[in-house]
Each structure stands twice: as structure tokens, then as C-alpha cells.
């Protein structure tokens, strides 16, 4: 076993569910995703030492952090595990600089060493201008950055991130995600990230483990997960359209020839083999015969993609309808239940699925023929 691995193996009775997971993380980011109550946060707490599992073993590098058989249970402060909590959990009575300095032990470092380390970290995370601000005076994205800086300042061996993006608004989210991605790549620590939304963390994680009812039901790369979900649960949870294809730049747009032969366009630039993601809620459905909208938002023809086929199923899902269309390739759309034309939407009806070029997302270099 490599020195820089985190090995986790635990069983724990948790009210309604039984947690039973086993995984290993190298110098990479593993995303644990799943619905709330799936047990993913409990896994983080167990690794951090804030929850004591009934049985199991947690090894960080060559050090046993927890082992029921050998009766090892290091307290959180001795585990070398840095954790970033959902809302940052910054100490409200301290400035940003004091928060960052909090974990630097006076015993281990001199006053000068500590203040040098703090300025170095503040600089590295671009939060020096906030040094004397109180946590309630800075933005959500800044709080998240300070929380990460505070955890990293103690030089942890393992990093845990609990829903790092879910408290942020959409615009901040994408910026923080990009920052986080760079930081994690720099740190190269075994990192576990927990999220209930695959869309939030798709670009951050090297591997994704989907949890359901306390178990990991699939563990793979993001592209693999999207391409071939291992079960109906994963497919429904992931809930997105994924196709493999080859991209070419044609007159300012990217044209992707899908493995099924169809051609779709994207506003993102890429060439060569790509994975294509289309979110079901970006798709509008139209009556294929008339060309008028059958359901969803009315839209024009320019800058749009179009796939035509017969509706195979219509499933209500909250305030929306999840509609499967047997086009080539098959595609799933989610339309508002109260949209005009929805009444006539039934299996057997011929419809066109339409979405704008800008909604065709590309994952470079991840296209292979679908396994199924």
C-alpha cells in the first residue's frame, strides 16, 4: 500500500440506514455523491474522527487513524485531517487572519514562523486584503476560500470538503469551482468531497462514488458514470444525457458527430474525441409534424440542435415531466408540467427535442463507444 493513500473501510448503524463502505483515495479527489441521508457526510465525519463507526479501519498513509480490531481511535486533533465545512464554519469572533492562524500550534512554531505562515497562506489564497475582516463581513465565496486556507494552513495529510459549493449562488459557484480545482491540483492530497449535486463537482473530481442508503453503488470516473450508469438508481440520480462523439470546428461552432451518427453543435471549443452532456432541463419538446412547440419554451431554429423520435415514457417528477424520446440517440427531456402543449404529450407521439448550442457541454478526450 502506498504511503500517500487513504484507506477507508467502515460499517456503522445510522438510524434508518446501515453505512457500509470501503474505498481508497490516492493523491486525487474522490467525490461522494448521493441524496441527503445516503450517509456521505457520515463518512466524512468518521474519517475526521467526529463520528465513531461501529466497525472498521481508516488508514492515512502508513498511520492507522481508526481500527476497531487494534483498538485504535485517534481523536480528531491527532488525525492530520483537514476539513472544510459546508458554510465554512469560520469562528465569528476572529478576523480572517486569526481564523487562518487558529490551527498553528504555539508549541510547534515560534511567533515569527506562525505569522510568516499566515501571510504566505493568505497570499496563496488571495485573501490578504481580507486579513483583518470579520467572517460576517465577507462574501460566501470568500468565506469558502478562507475555510479552505485555514484547513490547508495546518498541512493536513488528507483533505475533506463537505458540500463546498452548495451554499453559493450560481455565478459564484462556477468561479469557486475553478479556484478549488486549481488548488486541489496544487495540493495533490488525498481529498474526499461530498456533494448532492453531480453538476456542481463534475469538473473537480477525478473519481465519483455514488452512494445510496449507506452503500457505494458505483465508483468510476465522471465520464464513465455518465456514459454507463451501473443501475437505474445511478442513471436517475445522474439524470443527464451523455453521448460519445468526435468534434470538429466548423465556422466558429463545434460540430460533434455522435457515435450513433447524428450531428450536434456546441458553443464550446473542442476537437477530437469528446463526451457530450445535455441536461434534460435545457431541452424543449416540439410537435415533430407541425414544428410548433409541443411542450416547453417556444424557440427559433438558429443556434439550435434537433433530434426527432417517438415518446416512449412520460414520468411526473415534482413540478416537471421527465420525457424519454426514442430518437437516435435516445434522449431524455425535463419539461415544466404546466407548459403549453403538455396535455397532448403521451407515449407514441412523435416529437422533436430541441436545445441551444450553448447547452451542449463537452468533456474533451473522454469519448469511447458506449458499453451498452
Amino acid at each position: 500500500m502506498a504511503d500517500d493513500h487513504l484507506e477507508v473501510e467502515l460499517r456503522h448503524h445510522l438510524g434508518r440506514i446501515d453505512l457500509d463502505v470501503r474505498f481508497s483515495v490516492g493523491r486525487e479527489t474522490l467525490a461522494l455523491i448521493g441524496a441527503s441521508g445516503a450517509g456521505k457526510s457520515s463518512v466524512l465525519l468518521a474519517v475526521a474522527g467526529l463520528l465513531r463507526p461501529d466497525h472498521g479501519r481508516i488508514v492515512g498513509g502508513s498511520r492507522a487513524l481508526f481500527d476497531t480490531e487494534r483498538r485504535v481511535d485517534l481523536p480528531p486533533e491527532e488525525r492530520g485531517v483537514g476539513m472544510v465545512f459546508q458554510n465554512g464554519a469560520l469562528f465569528p469572533f476572529m478576523s480572517v487572519a486569526q481564523n487562518v492562524a487558529f490551527g498553528l500550534h504555539p508549541r510547534a512554531r515560534s511567533r515569527r514562523e506562525r505569522s510568516e505562515r499566515v501571510s504566505e497562506i493568505l497570499e496563496r489564497f488571495a485573501i490578504s486584503p481580507l486579513a483583518s475582516s470579520r467572517p460576517d463581513r465577507i462574501s460566501g465565496g470568500e468565506r469558502q476560500r478562507v475555510a479552505l486556507a485555514r484547513a490547508v494552513a495546518t498541512s493536513p495529510q488528507v483533505l475533506l470538503l463537505d458540500e463546498p459549493l452548495s451554499a453559493l449562488d450560481a455565478v459564484t459557484k462556477s468561479r469557486v469551482a475553478a479556484e478549488l480545482s486549481r488548488t486541489l491540483a496544487d495540493l495533490r492530497l488525498p481529498t474526499i468531497l461530498v456533494s448532492h449535486d453531480l453538476g456542481d463537482i463534475a469538473g473537480l473530481a477525478d473519481r465519483v462514488a455514488v452512494m445510496d442508503e449507506g452503500r457505494i453503488v458505483q465508483s468510476s470516473t465522471t465520464a464513465e458514470l455518465l456514459r454507463s450508469p451501473a443501475s437505474g438508481f445511478v442513471a436517475a440520480f445522474v439524470g443527464t444525457n451523455y453521448f460519445g462523439g468526435v468534434a470538429m470546428r466548423v465556422e466558429g461552432v463545434t460540430e460533434v458527430t455522435l457515435d450513433s451518427g447524428a450531428v450536434v453543435a456546441s458553443a464550446s471549443a473542442a476537437t477530437g474525441s469528446v463526451g457530450v452532456i445535455v441536461q434534460p432541463w435545457d431541452i424543449t419538446l416540439r410537435d415533430a409534424a407541425a414544428g410548433a412547440p409541443a411542450a416547453g419554451r417556444p424557440s427559433g431554429g438558429m443556434g439550435q440542435n434537433l433530434l426527432t423520435g417517438v415518446v416512449t415514457s412520460v414520468a411526473p417528477r415534482g413540478g416537471t415531466l421527465r420525457v424519454s424520446v426514442a430518437s437516435t440517440p435516445p434522449i431524455v427531456a425535463e419539461v415544466p408540467a404546466e407548459a403549453p402543449g403538455v396535455d397532448g404529450l403521451a407515449p407514441g407521439r412523435r416529437v422533436s427535442a430541441v436545445w441551444p448550442h450553448s447547452a451542449t457541454r463537452l468533456i474533451p478526450g473522454s469519448a469511447e463507444s458506449p458499453s451498452a
Binding site: 465525519l45 475526521a48 474522527g49 467526529l50 481523536p75 480528531p76 486533533e77 488525525r79 485531517v81 483537514g82 476539513m83 465545512f85 459546508q86 458554510n87 464554519a89 469562528f91 465569528p92 469572533f93 487558529f102 490551527g103 500550534h105 470579520r134 460576517d136 485555514r150 484547513a151 495546518t154
Partner: protein
């Protein structure tokens, strides 16, 4: 147009009925006046009975000076004891759920409703010369009743719940994530308590301490029974007021009363401000 309204667009919204002069309003007004006068008049009378200059002069009398010295020494010692012992207990009761917790909390609140005379008798029965523990202490030559230590014990007994209740509530309302964050940043449970929990609760703790100190300062019944009223030894301000009043030195009693009114008023305002402005700035 009513003055107690908020404007929404062109409309003015009044909360509840307009303040018409009705019988109900008249009764409420009279009740408020009676209650304010009932509390206010005695307090005002203390200051108005004799000229203010006389009051201040009387505070310099030997009886008042001794009583003030003893009151400060005992009440501050009692407060120190309450804070040092009460804080960890309140932390435990505020952050953990265990069997018998509610019973223990109720038990610690008992001195709030117990007549102080009963507290005094209880202390006497436990620590008196022939008491449960007192008899054994006597064998070592330790005699508690009628010493300044007895005053401290009486004050601590009755004032403790004022601090502990506030502290339990403060610790119970802490965000557990902050404590967890401190642990993952390398701080053990003791350091986390000192560096995170106490600062988080400090305003509530200060308010509770202020109230407990005011209660200790005003303690009379338990002190009278367990510590007596020995001038220069156990005679605190309230006991001195009683004794001077009995000896018809009404001016000295009024002077000491005026001092206690002023201090109590100040403590109450300080506690309210502390609890209202719980900010970190």
C-alpha cells in the same frame, strides 16, 4: 391619519386597531400607572427622604464602610466560585444529552424558588457545628458558621442558578460545526472549550455573571441564618441595612439602600445590553 403605521405604496397599514379611546385602553393605562408607581415610588423615596449630600456623607460612616467592604469581598468571592465551578458544569449540561440531565438541571435551579431562609437552614444543617459535614470539619478545627466563608457559601448557594441557567442556554446554542472545526484544526477538547466555546458564549456568560453578582450582593435570608450579622465580620450591606433600621439609624440604612438600588439598576442594564448586542465587533 394614524402615526403608528408603515407606508406600503399609497396605502398606510395600521397594525391592529387605531388607538381609539376606549374603556379597555383606559383600564390598561391606569394599570400601567399603578404598577409603575408601585415599583417606582419606594425606590424614589429612598433618594428623596433625606438630601443627597446626607446620603453620600452617611456612606462614610464606619458601619456602612465595613458592610460595603464585606459585601464586595464576599460577593466577588462567591461569584468567582460560581464561575469557576459553574462554567464546566453548564458546558456539560448544555452540550451533552444523558440520562438524568433534566433532573440535574431542575435540581440546580432549585435555589431560584427556594425561600432563602430554607437555604440558610440547609447550610446550617450541613455545615453547622453539629451538622452533617460540619461535625467532621470541627474535628479538624474548621468552623464555618458565622465566618465570612459562611457568607460566601450562602451567597453562592442562592446566586448560582442565575449564572448556570444563562450559561447552559449559551452553550446549548453554539454551532456544533465550530467546535468540530476546532478539533480538526488540532485543538483538543480543553483548548476548544477555552478558545472557541467560551468566546462564543462570553456575552451570555458575562450577563449571567452580572445577574448572579447582583443576587449575591443582595443576599439576606440565608446569610442571616447561616452567617449571622456580626459587624465587621459577616455583616453585609443588606444585613447592615436591617440592623441600622432596627437601631433607628434610618439615614445610614437609606444611604446603603440607595447604593444598592444604583448598583442593581446598573447591573440590570449591563446584562440587557450584553444580551441584546451579541456581536463580535
Amino acid at each position: 391619519m394614524s402615526s403608528s403605521g408603515a407606508a406600503y405604496g399609497d396605502f398606510e397599514v395600521t397594525y391592529g386597531a387605531r388607538h381609539r379611546f376606549t374603556a379597555a385602553a383606559a383600564i390598561t393605562g391606569i394599570a400601567a400607572a399603578v404598577l409603575t408607581a408601585f415599583v417606582g415610588l419606594p425606590l424614589l423615596a429612598i433618594f428623596l427622604r433625606v438630601p443627597l449630600g446626607t446620603l453620600i456623607a452617611q456612606l462614610h460612616s464606619p458601619v456602612a464602610r465595613d458592610a460595603l467592604r464585606i459585601s464586595l469581598k464576599t460577593s466577588l468571592t462567591a461569584l468567582l466560585f460560581i464561575v469557576v465551578v459553574g462554567t464546566p458544569v453548564a458546558y456539560l449540561l448544555g452540550t451533552r444529552r444523558f440520562r438524568g440531565r433534566t433532573v440535574l438541571v431542575t435540581f440546580l435551579e432549585l435555589p431560584l424558588v427556594l425561600p432563602p431562609a430554607v437555604a440558610g437552614i440547609g447550610l446550617f444543617a450541613a455545615f453547622g457545628r453539629t451538622g452533617l459535614l460540619g461535625a467532621h470539619l470541627m474535628q479538624f478545627g474548621i468552623r464555618i458558621p458565622f465566618t465570612w466563608v459562611a457568607v460566601v457559601m450562602a451567597q453562592a448557594f442562592v446566586a448560582m442558578p442565575f449564572y448556570v441557567r444563562q450559561a447552559i442556554a449559551a452553550f446549548a446554542s453554539m454551532d456544533p460545526q465550530l467546535l468540530a472545526a476546532s478539533r480538526t484544526l488540532g485543538m483538543g477538547s480543553t483548548r476548544t472549550f477555552l478558545r472557541v466555546s467560551v468566546p462564543l458564549a462570553r456575552q451570555s456568560l458575562s450577563a449571567g455573571a452580572a445577574l448572579a453578582w447582583a443576587r449575591a450582593l443582595g443576599e439576606f435570608g440565608a446569610t442571616a441564618l447561616f452567617a449571622g450579622s456580626l459587624a465587621g465580620v459577616t455583616q453585609t450591606l443588606p444585613l447592615a441595612i436591617y440592623s441600622e433600621f432596627g437601631a433607628t439609624n434610618i439615614e445610614v440604612a437609606l444611604a446603603m439602600s440607595a447604593l444598592l438600588v444604583a448598583v442593581s439598576f446598573g447591573v440590570l442594564i449591563a446584562a440587557k445590553l450584553l444580551l441584546r448586542f451579541q456581536t463580535w465587533v
